[in-house]
Assembly symmetry: C2
Homo-oligomer: 362 residues x 2
Amino acid sequence: MAQAIQLARKGWFTTRTNPRVGCVLVKDGQIIGQGWHEKPGYAHAEINALNVAGDNARGATAYVTLEPCAHHGKTGPCAEALVEAGVVKVVAAMLDPNPLVSGKGMQILQNAGIKVEHGLMSSEAQQLNPGFIKRMTTGLPRVVAKIGMSLDGRTAMANGESQWITGADARRDVQRLRAESGAVITGSGTVVIDNPSMNVREPAYITNPHFTQPIRVIIDSQNIVEPDAKIFSNEGHCWLVSGHLSVKDYPDNVEQKKVELMPSKDKMSHHKINLKALLMMLAEAGIDDVLIEAGSGLVGSFIEQELVDELVVYIAPKLMGSAARPMALLPLETMQQNLELKLGDIRQIGNDLRLNYYFKKA
Amino acid sequence: MAQAIQLARKGWFTTRTNPRVGCVLVKDGQIIGQGWHEKPGYAHAEINALNVAGDNARGATAYVTLEPCAHHGKTGPCAEALVEAGVVKVVAAMLDPNPLVSGKGMQILQNAGIKVEHGLMSSEAQQLNPGFIKRMTTGLPRVVAKIGMSLDGRTAMANGESQWITGADARRDVQRLRAESGAVITGSGTVVIDNPSMNVREPAYITNPHFTQPIRVIIDSQNIVEPDAKIFSNEGHCWLVSGHLSVKDYPDNVEQKKVELMPSKDKMSHHKINLKALLMMLAEAGIDDVLIEAGSGLVGSFIEQELVDELVVYIAPKLMGSAARPMALLPLETMQQNLELKLGDIRQIGNDLRLNYYFKKA
């Protein structure tokens, strides 16, 4: 199973909107076939492994990181393929997280007289697909907010200046975060002020023929983003999100998305996009993992509405001062209201520090 | 020499206002005597080592972490004692950092026909006494600012609430910072609002008979601290620092110190204590290491005036929000003005993270 998990990882940057899955076929103590899923529309891991094993699969045991599928999608159901190939036992690390189909693949196998087991290395298997699992169980994608800040928790000077807080190594690491996400969300303020590309440029990712750019999602509730913004000029799809469709003539890769507005608590401020509705739209489009790269206002709104799963914080070794902009605009009054986090990974990246924190769900 | 440095460390919490020093005497490849300095007024490391070796010291080589002293202080000059004992070679890790006496001890030894060397493991030896070295070379103590904050860089809620941001383990670690400091500086605001003790309470330190409490220094430019404040109620000396002596009747362990005021740039705010003058007074009193435990205003002033050498930052896994008080009140306008730091040690302490940062001197 450890080998199957290693195989699944080979699809880390390319399987979306499908899960990462690996499969190893074993007979008489020998590996006789193995495979992983590469990309939607391509064969599933089990089929790739069966193709390697050929007739030899008869009598083999299949180790697979996720329950074999039972449905006819772009490819036939893997459970039936395993039956036809004559495997005698299937060990799945975890059942399908989708409550509508969970257990159905195992049922097909069992009905055909195949021995089935599940749960072996299930925690490792879950870590292959945290976004997919969250989407299947909640209807929302996994949301990671990336923050580049100074030690004193500032993400831009009061005048908006923010290039560059972190070093080149940290910015390269952000390329990885983008590459493993199905969508990158930013705000119109960032687009207008910084005019970023927000695409994946690292050769390690884009030279993979199976790689596709994440959807760039721009929240533009006031329709201020112009068609010549750099973010539209690169390969890949963009969503321009507002409560009102704009009449501006955007490039072909830009899709305008109308999302409902939320009544504003503060009468002075304009109405805001319903962020949860937006995330549900992304989940419906098959997006498992969303990365937020935005200013403190938008990041604060996502956090305040409890929509963020993880913070990836790059801390630069500098002080930007107390007049600079906060990590997240988040008005809290008492310590009782403080938001609790759990520290995950700690890593030094160049001169910066990368910290992963998870939100504790109430 | 490595052994001598280990010995010197045994005096880590007790030698102030003297440096930490260790000495090992070697003859015919055998250690025949070793010692370290424990406390002012007690024998120096060399004398302790010579006492162990006795007559056997004749013909030995002395390894000592700091140049033997040449002056008659509370104890006789160690250089002469080494001559009298008949050692034939002295290896010092570093020369005395005090420019007025540096090299004089070695000169006495050399004049007596003893072979001398210095520089072996000098970097490790310097780390034994960073505060002593700074005081001897600049007339100012080494200043460490301790910060307990949330991930978003906040040290108190807007209403002043700040207990407790960090966990019990981090607070215990702060006891160590206090125990290795000659003085702990705080502000009248902290004393009035939090009413802290600011003393060392950990048994590991206070049960050592040579341990003395650091001086608690309260900056009270507006004379608002009352005589019944808890900070005065514990064992140990306190300095109450202001531009004007108060007529209040403070306990006997409280010494009022008048320090010059600085003209305030901002006409709205009251005059402020000249912090550099205060640090010079502490250095004159023999204080090598100063710990600042104060609110964002005072911490910001020390940083702004470039008086801080090191930040020890405890980051609690929580968000306190953007209305909360900053890590340090520090008005900067452009990224050009950002203060550059260098990351030192990273350690997880309970659920918190401890980061050591050093200021890059311009």
